[in-house]
Every structure is written in structure tokens, then in C-alpha cells.
């Protein structure tokens, strides 16, 4: 079965640079969630999209922005990177068409800011 795809899997950036993380949800899933997991921490919700519209916003810095495109893939854009942005970024997808709405997690993108 198809899973959530995230790219790149690993990314190394310098302080003040920009990074773009991509997420390709499971086919026919209409909702995408982004989570940030710092070293030794639990995943923290950043933002979610349903049918290409932002549906909820969590602890996402103003330096970050995200969107969901017509093909339902999503991109998380991170500017003016700081050392504290080093983390594992998870994308999860689900189908909002009633029922249980289980979130399926991707493998994550490990971002290292030097």
C-alpha cells in the first residue's frame, strides 16, 4: 500500500538560510498535518490543511509558511533558519470523508541547521 512520502529525508542548512520540505499524502487523502519533533521531545503540531485550505494552526513560527497544492501535496517553507529549528519534521495525511480519520505518518525529514 502507498504511504506518505516526504522529501528530502535529510537536509543540512546554514543559519539564516531557507528550506523547503515536501509531503506527498496517500492517494485520495485530503488532509495533511505537519509536526515538528525536536531532539528528545514529543511531536508538536505545526499546521494542517484540508482540501487545500489551512484548517488549523499550532506552534508554527512566523518564519514558516505552508500550503497544500491542487494535487494535495504540501510544502513547508522555512526561512531565516535558526539552530533551534533542527528537528525531525513529520507529515501525516488522512481522509476527512467521515469515519475514523486515522493519520498516517511519513518517515520524516531530518533538518539540521548549522
Amino acid at each position: 500500500a502507498a504511504g506518505v512520502i516526504q522529501s528530502p529525508r535529510h537536509l543540512i542548512k546554514e543559519k539564516r538560510e531557507t528550506a523547503t520540505l515536501k509531503c506527498y499524502p496517500i492517494p485520495r487523502h485530503d488532509t495533511v498535518y505537519w509536526y515538528q519533533q525536536g531532539p528528545g521531545q514529543d511531536p508538536q503540531f505545526l499546521i494542517s490543511f484540508y482540501e487545500k485550505m489551512q484548517s488549523d494552526k499550532g506552534s508554527i513560527p512566523d518564519r514558516f509558511s505552508a500550503q497544500q497544492f491542487s494535487d494535495y501535496h504540501s510544502e513547508l517553507n522555512m526561512s531565516s533558519l535558526e539552530l533551534g529549528d533542527s528537528a525531525l519534521y513529520f507529515c501525516a495525511s488522512s481522509s476527512f470523508s467521515g469515519g475514523y480519520n486515522e493519520q498516517f505518518f511519513g518517515p520524516g525529514t531530518r533538518l539540521t541547521v548549522l
Binding site: P43, F45, S48, F90, Y100, E102, F105, P107, G108, R110
Partner: protein, 115 residues
């Protein structure tokens, strides 16, 4: 706002024995879902088991079962016949029945399995 608490940062269990991981949560909602996720060294988040709050029966998945006490807002995970492959971080998570379905995670419990 909802919160999830895992008071055991680390637990150890002997192979083939049973271990219970604790989770408590706080919410004013009556309908919600609770989950246990496993995160091995690969960092992939793997769903272990889920529980719907409206169901009184405790969920079971093979060697994994939960003790769901809604009034006490407690949701513990029992792993029977522990195996070396069970070693991982375990996160308890809460999700509202309505709204945008974001997960709220606890801080995790690292489980070590001793041979």
C-alpha cells in the same frame, strides 16, 4: 486545552515478561480518540493501538492491550510477552472527535527490553 501526560520517562522489561506504560490526559470533551504510537530508532511513527472514548471495551491488538479508564482519564498500554523488537519510544496521543483532528502527544516513555 487538552493535555497528555506520560510520567515514566523510561521503563525496562525482561524479554517475555509484561510491562505497563502509563498515560493520563485532561480534557473537557466527551468524545475523543486515544492512541499509542511506537517510535523505534528509525524515528518512524507506528500506530500500536487506538481507543474510541465512547467504547467501554478496552482495545486489544495481539500482544498489546489498553486499560482505558474514562472517568479517571487514564489510558495505559500493556505489552505482554515482550520482545526485543518492542524496544522503542512510546507516545500516548489524544485526538478530538471534532475539529481538525490534530494529535496532542505526551512526552514519551522509552522502553528497554532486556535479553
Amino acid at each position: 486545552a487538552q493535555t497528555v501526560t506520560q510520567s515514566q520517562p523510561e521503563m525496562s522489561v525482561q524479554e517475555a515478561e509484561t510491562v505497563t506504560l502509563s498515560c493520563t490526559y485532561d480534557t473537557s470533551e466527551s468524545d475523543y480518540y486515544l492512541f499509542w504510537y511506537k517510535q523505534p530508532p528509525s524515528r518512524q511513527m507506528i500506530l500500536v493501538i487506538r481507543q474510541e472514548a465512547y467504547k467501554q471495551q478496552n482495545a486489544t491488538e495481539n500482544r498489546f492491550s489498553v486499560n482505558f479508564q474514562k472517568a479517571a482519564k487514564s489510558f495505559s498500554l500493556k505489552i505482554s510477552d515482550s520482545q526485543l523488537g518492542d524496544a522503542a519510544m512510546y507516545f500516548c496521543a489524544y485526538r478530538s472527535q471534532g475539529g481538525t483532528y490534530k494529535y496532542i502527544f505526551g512526552t514519551g516513555t522509552r522502553l528497554k527490553v532486556l535479553a
